[in-house]
């Protein structure tokens, strides 16, 4: 958390932290940042409508915008930036449809506040494309038919991408573990296992 790159070159904290701390309530602050400790001065209270400036690095492009401190990264992606590949399934961190990579790690965008994501590198499913060309994991999902309705698929693809970046040769059990945070109600898990395996091989082959 401490050594995140800040694409704006602005020191971390400042406006972002104050607006965020003051408005979402102590419980949420503890959950989200773990920084509110007993004895620490309670920051100035701001109203929920008070907008905070953030700069978000999404798929290599910097987006500067005003957000309410309570807005999640998912909300900002979909409702403010119209980057709708990232899907909303439960909006409470249980289904994985909104999985994105934050600094290379799979994270639920619904459980990440937009203000929290400042200074990180965010990758959505669109960010795996090279122009119109699908990424390796996406191609494997096509080839292995690793989806049906496709609604959970962007999240599955991002979870697989994150898994393979950390573990380039996952075993069957490691795939099951790494992908278990993403629900697929169509039940395409057997084909998702195949896709992750194929993608791992193709990534090693330099595809």
């Amino acid at each position: 958390m401490n050594e995140k790159k800040d694409p704006t070159q602005r020191p971390r904290g400042g406006v972002t932290r104050r607006g965020f701390l003051g408005s979402v309530g102590a419980g949420a602050v503890v959950a989200a940042t773990g920084v509110a400790r007993p004895g620490e001065a309670i920051p100035e209270i701001t109203s929920p409508e008070e907008m905070v400036r953030v700069a978000l690095m999404i798929n290599g492009r910097l987006h500067r915008l005003l957000v309410e401190p309570r807005w999640t990264l998912l909300f900002v992606l979909r409702e403010r930036l119209a980057i709708t590949g990232t899907k909303a399934g439960c909006e409470r961190g249980e289904c994985g449809s909104c999985t994105v990579l934050i600094d290379g790690q799979p994270r639920y965008a619904c459980m990440t506040l937009a203000v929290e994501a400042e200074g990180t590198e965010i990758t959505t499913v669109e960010g795996l494309l090279d122009g119109e060309e699908l990424g390796t994991v996406q191609k494997a999902f096509v080839e292995e038919d690793a989806f049906q309705c496709g609604y959970c698929t962007p999240g599955q693809v991002m979870a697989a991408e994150g898994l393979l970046r950390i573990n380039p040769s996952p075993s069957f059990d490691e795939i099951r573990c790494g992908m278990s945070g993403n629900l697929c109600r169509c039940g395409t898990y057997p084909h998702i296992v195949n896709a992750v395996t194929t993608a791992a091989e193709n990534k090693k082959g330099g595809q």
Binding site: A88, C95, E126, F141, G150, F172, R176, G187, P190
Partner: protein
């Protein structure tokens, strides 16, 4: 078949919309039956597919719905004054708003409630709706609405609801009509003949559909024309429901449903949210989007009722079934919908003396909607476990017992024979590929880890049929546009449709563009549900392509001056079979060039009159039970399916495995919990309601299609697959668990909590 039609099929008689030339069955195919990746795969994996939840229109408002927090209550007073003054709020809708006082109906058109009913019969009934500039403003505003309730006594237990003293949910009491009875022969005589009788009571828990895309719509008015983007399995069904609710001409309601994130039966009908969006879009003059939060989806978008089933089977020593007595109780919640489960018991096996009785009762719970093979997985859980028990008592292989009793005709009113029934092949070929005999001989015990194998069989009680209309356009450059009304709910509809056109016309699959699921621009199709999209719409697709082919051949015959019967079409080239000199590319047809395109209209051919068509299946599984922890690991699952001809083997496998995964949910993980103290759902979220994850599935999955075309049924030889893929799964698991540890698990789900208890009880008895 009318009496046996699934309850969610409206009473109307399906009819072929037009006559046409129906092609003969394929003798051999080059594209159909192969593995073809989906034509819309790029859109779905790249994030570029626009689902209804992704739709955003200029000036669009966002809606939120306030729901009743009580299981049973009267609304006395609603005060919306604070909400109306909140920032960003543009509309607040209650039952007293102009135009909102409208009746609400079940799918068969009975009026049982209102758009906003002041009597709330289950937790999650709609009280008021807000439209605001942003989604969060709308949520803030519904929280500011003050409602005064008179909380009423409630009942959420099916059996308690039968008691005369139970709170009445509708006038006339809680029992919904007379029990539905199927009866033949003489039950008492049948049991008198029996050498062996098994009897047991089973139960399954209520399941929630829980598609990954929540329910919702976007509504936009242009003058008197309403356009709806809806996450739906059937655009025409939503159009009809909206037009009826809002008294609009059908032509004025355009419903678009290109992509959708799963339904499983919960998205077959118009939702109240769609009507709210339309009403508020009218009053504000701006588009309105309403998507339901996940918790609300758990409460108010349907479910598969739990059933309590008592089944008694009698058989002679030689395995002949002499009598089946089946009683089922289920609740569709607070409004009419089906909750029966008796079809399998009545018809899967040959038996002269059968009685099934389905009792359904209102409870203060969310209304059921058809969920993937409504009633069948529950019935299989009871019947197929009973058959397993019978096989033990008779000391025969459970596969042999089933093979011996397969029904060749529907043992109902007219005893119509099936156009095809390959259940025997499913059992034989499935067992061979699974290694059934070897698995049963294997040492099954390794200390506390015990292995077992199980099998279960089924049919699915709906075949499909007319109406369906499809249009195929072939342009002068040989590219093709396919126009059909069916939704692709994830089953690969667009892909097999393109494959059929490619097969018929010799066009490459990627040369075919598809327009679908739009009531304004595409042809009529019934909803994608009931495993009937392939058998209903694929023959119409083929007929449309065939109609194009016939015209092209006539053009070529004229231009080449040969007889039509001498010509064949291959890879967009028409050649004379007798004179190899005479051939022409389709793009070289002069008449096609002058016309610009050729249009072919295809209709679904009528079903044969004196026969009936069902898909059949058998599933096999091997489990490992940990007798220390009660955990059950699935080692291998195999689905052997008779769904007629296989169109696309890639998506076929996926469908079979997906059905098995959902069946694992019913069998091992899923259960709606209604709190007895409050009547409220205690697990309305994905954390506490356990949809299977990747960690819950079997280590190995196999698919064994019995790829025998049913050419008597339709011109593609296809039957349905989606529902049968999930019917026998849970029962097969239960039978495997019995084989492993000798415990008959009568109540779903087979989770470690229950297993640990049952294993402890078994030890105590021993």
């Amino acid at each position: 078949m009318d009496k046996e039609s699934p309850y969610w099929i409206d009473g109307s008689v399906p009819e072929t919309p037009g006559t046409g030339e129906y092609p003969d069955p394929w003798k051999k195919t080059t594209i159909v039956g192969t593995r073809v990746p989906r034509v819309d795969a790029y859109e779905r994996v790249s994030g570029t597919a626009v689902y209804p939840h992704d739709v955003s229109l200029p000036e669009m408002l966002h809606g939120a719905i306030l729901r009743c927090p009580h299981a049973h209550a009267n609304v006395l007073k609603i005060d919306t004054s604070k909400a109306e003054k909140m920032p960003g709020v543009l509309a607040v809708l209650t039952g007293e708003s102009p135009g909102a006082d409208m009746p609400w109906y079940s799918r068969r058109g009975q009026f049982t409630s209102k758009l906003f009913d002041t009597r709330c019969r289950h937790e999650g009934e709609e009280i008021a709706v807000v439209a605001a500039e942003t989604p969060l403003q709308a949520v803030d505003a519904i929280r500011a609405i003050e409602v005064e309730y008179e909380v009423l006594p409630f009942v959420v237990d099916d059996e308690a609801a039968l008691e005369p003293s139970a709170p009445a949910i509708h006038e006339g009491g809680n029992i919904i009509g007379e029990p539905s009875v199927r009866e033949r022969g003489d039950l008492a005589a049948g049991f008198a003949e029996a050498d062996v009788v098994v009897e047991r009571t089973y139960s399954t828990k209520c399941e929630i559909h829980a598609p990954m895309e929540p329910h919702g719509s976007v509504a936009k008015w242009d003058g008197n024309r309403l356009t709806i983007w809806d996450t739906t399995q059937g655009v025409y069904s939503v159009q009809e429901g909206l037009a009826r609710a809002m008294s609009l001409p059908l032509a004025n309601v355009r419903v678009i449903g290109h992509y959708m994130g799963g339904g499983f039966g919960s998205k077959l009908e118009v939702g109240k949210y769609t009507v709210y969006a339309a009403l508020m879009a009218k009053t504000t003059g701006r588009p309105v989007k309403i998507f339901m939060p996940r918790e609300d989806c758990f409460l108010a978008t349907g479910n598969r009722p739990g059933n309590k089933m008592t089944v008694k089977i009698g058989a002679k020593k030689d395995g002949t079934l002499t009598a089946i007595d089946y009683k089922s109780l289920g609740s569709p919640g607070a409004y009419p919908a089906g909750a029966g489960s008796g079809s399998l018991a009545a018809y899967l096996y040959t038996c002269a003396n059968v009685r099934t009785e389905d009792t359904t009762v209102y409870t203060n719970a969310g209304k059921a909607r058809p969920m993937r093979a409504p009633g069948f997985p529950q019935g299989a859980w009871a019947l197929e476990q009973a058959m397993d028990e019978l096989a033990q008592k008779l000391d025969v292989d459970p596969i042999e017992l089933r093979l011996q009793n397969i029904a060749t005709e529907l043992q109902a009113e007219e005893n119509r024979p099936y156009t095809s029934n390959q259940l025997a092949e499913c059992l034989r070929k499935g067992a061979a590929e699974f290694g059934w005999d070897e698995a049963r001989k294997r040492v099954q015990s390794d200390g506390h880890l015990r292995r077992g194998v199980g099998v279960a069989a089924c049919f699915w009680g709906y075949g499909g049929g007319p109406p369906s209309t499809v249009i195929v356009k072939l342009f002068s450059d040989g590219s093709v546009n396919l126009n059909m009304g069916a939704s692709d709910i994830g089953t690969g509809t667009k892909t097999w449709a393109a494959m059929i056109v490619a097969e018929e016309l010799g066009v490459a699959v990627n040369q075919i563009q598809i327009e679908h699921a739009d009531t304004a621009t595409t042809q009529y199709a019934t909803s994608s549900g009931g495993s009937k999209t392939v058998p209903s719409d694929s023959p119409a697709v083929r007929a449309a392509a065939y109609a194009v082919k016939v015209q092209l051949m006539r053009m070529a015959a004229e231009q080449l001056e040969v007889d039509v019967s001498d010509l064949e079409l291959r890879d967009l080239k028409i050649s004379s079979q007798s004179d190899s000199e005479k051939s022409i590319e389709v793009t070289g047809l002069e008449k096609l060039g002058r016309q610009g395109l050729v249009i072919g209209t295809g209709y679904r051919d009528p079903n044969p009159e004196d026969k009936i068509t069902f898909p059949f299946a058998a599933q096999f599984c091997e489990v490992e039970v940990n007798t220390h922890t009660g955990e059950v690991r699935l080692l291998h699952f195999l689905g052997a399916h008779d769904s007629g001809r296989v169109l696309n083997r890639l998506t076929y496998d996926n469908q079979v495995f997906g059905g098995i995964v959902m069946g694992v949910g019913l069998g091992m993980t899923e259960e709606r919990v209604l709190d007895r103290q409050t009547g409220k759902m205690a697990n309305a979220n994905f954390h506490d309601y356990k949809v299977p994850t990747m960690k819950d599935i079997a280590v190995e999955h196999s698919c064994v299609p019995i790829d025998i075309p049913d050419n008597e049924f339709n011109t593609t030889g296809t039957k349905g697959l989606g529902e049968p893929a999930t019917i026998p799964t849970a029962a097969a698991i239960a039978n495997a668990v019995y084989d492993a540890i000798g415990i008959r698990v009568t109540d779903s789900p087979i989770n470690p909590v229950q297993m640990a208890r049952l294993i402890a009880e078994q030890r105590k008895e021993a």
